[in-house]
């Protein structure tokens, strides 16, 4: 079996296993939907024009996409590692030709597919329930690439969290602790001018910032996006490598 064949086998099993867990599938898609409905349709801008959600609806498209690109891989890959460890699956896989890199790549592919579908749903929902008007240009074709690369990055981080924590509960707590600050401090829902001046440089340290900047340049405010995609890609490779190294091989 070739490397591609092993990855395909692992990805097929992982996808089947996930898609047959109906509640997991439902909430994976429902979570971003309620977020869009709450913040896109229910929450109103302050009369003064300041505060949260004061920007035009289109500004927040990257934020809505970031919810699934960030949260879902972190919790899914982290939990998968916890389940594999608890079930002795890594012990078994250690005696097969499947490597840790291949395992993580397979699960990343599954996440890219799932989150790609969820992103499509979010995009359609944002257009349906808000007055967002995305810029239609050839650059829009890069949006799936941003989503895929962003998912890969956070799959790597999820693998690290899964390896560091010793239970599924621990994975969920850790991924929330990491994801929540990232979500709101990465130019997604909170624009930089709402943050103290001394803190703004720290925004650049968040990988999600490059996802938000790049996708915003693609769908809302046309501008350069290649640099953001490059940074995001380099970080994705680094986090995937770190994640693959962290995937347990022994007890």
């Amino acid at each position: 079996m070739t490397r591609v064949g092993r990855i395909r086998t692992e990805a097929t099993a992982a996808a089947r296993s996930f898609l047959r867990r109906r509640t997991a599938v439902f909430f994976t898609f429902f979570f971003p939907v309620i977020l869009v409905v709450i913040f896109g349709a229910l929450v109103r801008t302050q009369p003064t024009g300041g505060g949260l959600f004061a920007e035009p609806a289109g500004y927040y498209i990257p934020g809505y996409l970031a919810v699934v690109v960030l949260f879902t891989p972190l919790s899914r890959v982290g939990s998968e590692i916890a389940r594999h460890r608890d079930g002795g699956r890594f012990e078994k896989l250690a005696t097969t030709p499947l490597s840790r890199v291949e395992w993580l790549l397979a699960h990343t592919l599954v996440n890219v597919a799932i989150i790609g579908a969820a992103s499509l749903l979010i995009f359609a929902l944002v257009l349906a329930v808000t007055d967002a008007e995305p810029v239609v240009s050839p650059a829009l074709a890069v949006l799936p690439v941003f989503v895929a690369v962003g998912v890969a990055l956070f799959c790597g981080l999820g693998a690290v969290l899964g390896a560091l924590t010793d239970s599924q509960d621990g994975v969920i707590a850790a991924s929330n602790t990491v994801a929540l600050p990232l979500l709101f401090l990465s130019e997604t829902f909170v624009s930089p001018d709402l943050l103290p001046a001394w803190f703004r440089p720290a925004v650049a340290a968040s990988p999600l910032t490059y996802f938000a900047r790049g996708t915003r340049a693609v769908v809302y405010e046309p501008g350069p996006w290649v640099g953001d995609l490059a940074v995001l890609s380099v970080l994705a490779v680094a986090f995937l490598a770190l994640g693959a190294y962290a995937v347990p091989r022994t007890d």
Binding site: M1, G5, R6, R8, T9, E10, T12, A13, A14, R16, S17, R20, R21, R83, D86, G87, G88, R89, F90, E91, K92, L93, A94, T95, T96, P97, L98, S99, R100, E102, W103, V247, R249, T250, D251
Partner: protein, 355 residues
């Protein structure tokens, strides 16, 4: 997961004189807890090797060390190579605690694990081998415990391994399922597969293993063919007498006095136990019971078994003397004699009746 793009290790098979497994001075500690304390063992290619020992003796840690899924000190070689350098195509593993991916059918699980190898057996034939062909389309979670374990065994043999590690393969399996696994192991062994088997079922190990190692406190305390271990450590044949009513304080002594053979008589939980009785001497024992005026319900004669070896060498044997029944043997008998419930070599002799 396997990190070594292992080429076939067949070229180094002869490095250990044809041995499939060699371990010398294998040590593994978890903090202050010593799991393996200098284990030495050698498993020949084509051999069924049984590993027995109490819970916590280090059996699973040893399996993990041999499969490269835990780090251990000492010299470990599998087909002449370090465990992690062995071609994974040649090794199959059923971990003791194993829960495969959810929501997959038995057939899909076998397909999945087979799909990770360069070459895999036909899924249907593997399912037939473990007796799961009829239930192969049910999700793993919906299978009974025994069917789940058989499915797990299937995932361990799907790559047609030269060396198969089975860590308690029949746990939770009913007698029919166990027999099907036993037959499978025998077929694999007949085909030349080396099987490394750990189990708490002594009858299973005694039946299947060519050689057995007993692990206690992380060290091998005995190793050899089951029959040799039994001859050396199993003690004498015994006749268990279930009395028709409670024994008086001198019952054992009265019977012992009337036994011409001088066999030791001691009190047991249900009556008396006479040690050293050969089958042809059972009649003499019955005569002695009659002469002593001891009424009994039944007699059961048994040879020593691997379970007796286990109980004796692990120090887990049951001692009737602790039941505070005064006996003749308690005063002058073998204080280390093992008393067990007997294995499948037990043979009921007669019900005795009210004599």
């Amino acid at each position: 997961m396997n990190e070594t793009a292992a080429a076939s290790t067949s070229a180094v098979d002869d490095a250990d004189g044809g041995a499939a497994l060699v371990g010398e001075g294998v040590r593994r500690s978890y903090g202050d807890v010593v799991a393996l304390d200098g284990v030495d063992l050698r498993v020949e290619a084509g051999e069924v090797f049984g590993l027995i020992g109490p819970n916590g003796a280090g059996k699973t840690t040893l399996v993990r060390a041999l499969t490269g899924t835990t780090d251990a000190e000492g010299d470990l070689r599998v087909f002449g190579a370090p465990p992690r350098a062995v071609d994974p195509q040649r090794v199959g593993l059923l971990p003791q605690s194993f829960d495969p991916p959810e929501r997959l059918t038995a057939r899909e699980l076998v397909d999945y694990y087979g799909g990770l190898y360069d070459e895999a057996r036909d899924t249907e034939s593997v399912l037939r081998d473990v007796g799961m062909a009829g239930d192969a389309d049910a999700w793993y979670e919906t299978l009974s415990g025994g069917q789940q374990r058989r499915t797990c065994v299937a995932t361990a043999i799907v790559n047609d391994p030269d060396l198969l590690f089975l860590d308690e393969p029949t746990t939770g399996i009913d007698p029919a399922g166990r027999r099907s696994i036993h037959r499978l192991i025998e077929r694999l062994a007949d085909g030349g597969t080396t099987v490394f088997l750990t189990s708490h079922a002594m009858d299973e190990v005694e039946r299947l293993a060519d050689r057995v190692a007993l692990l206690r406190d992380g060290a091998v305390v005995a190793v050899g063919p089951p029959e040799e271990l039994i001859a050396e450590h199993g003690g004498a044949p015994r006749l268990d007498v279930t009395l028709d009513g409670p024994a008086s304080g001198d019952t054992a002594a009265r019977v012992g006095d009337r036994l011409a053979s001088g066999d030791a008589v001691e009190s047991s939980r249900d009556g008396l136990r006479i040690r050293g009785v050969r089958p042809e001497a059972i009649g003499d024992a019955v005569d002695a019971l009659d002469a002593a005026g001891v009424a009994f319900e039944s007699l059961a004669w048994s040879e020593p078994s691997l379970e007796d070896v286990y109980l004796r060498l692990t120090g887990e044997e049951y001692s009737p003397r602790e039941d505070a029944i005064p006996t003749a043997a308690a005063e002058g008998g073998d204080r280390d004699a093992a008393v067990s419930d007997g294995g499948d070599r037990d043979a009921a002799v007669s019900d005795g009746g009210d004599r």
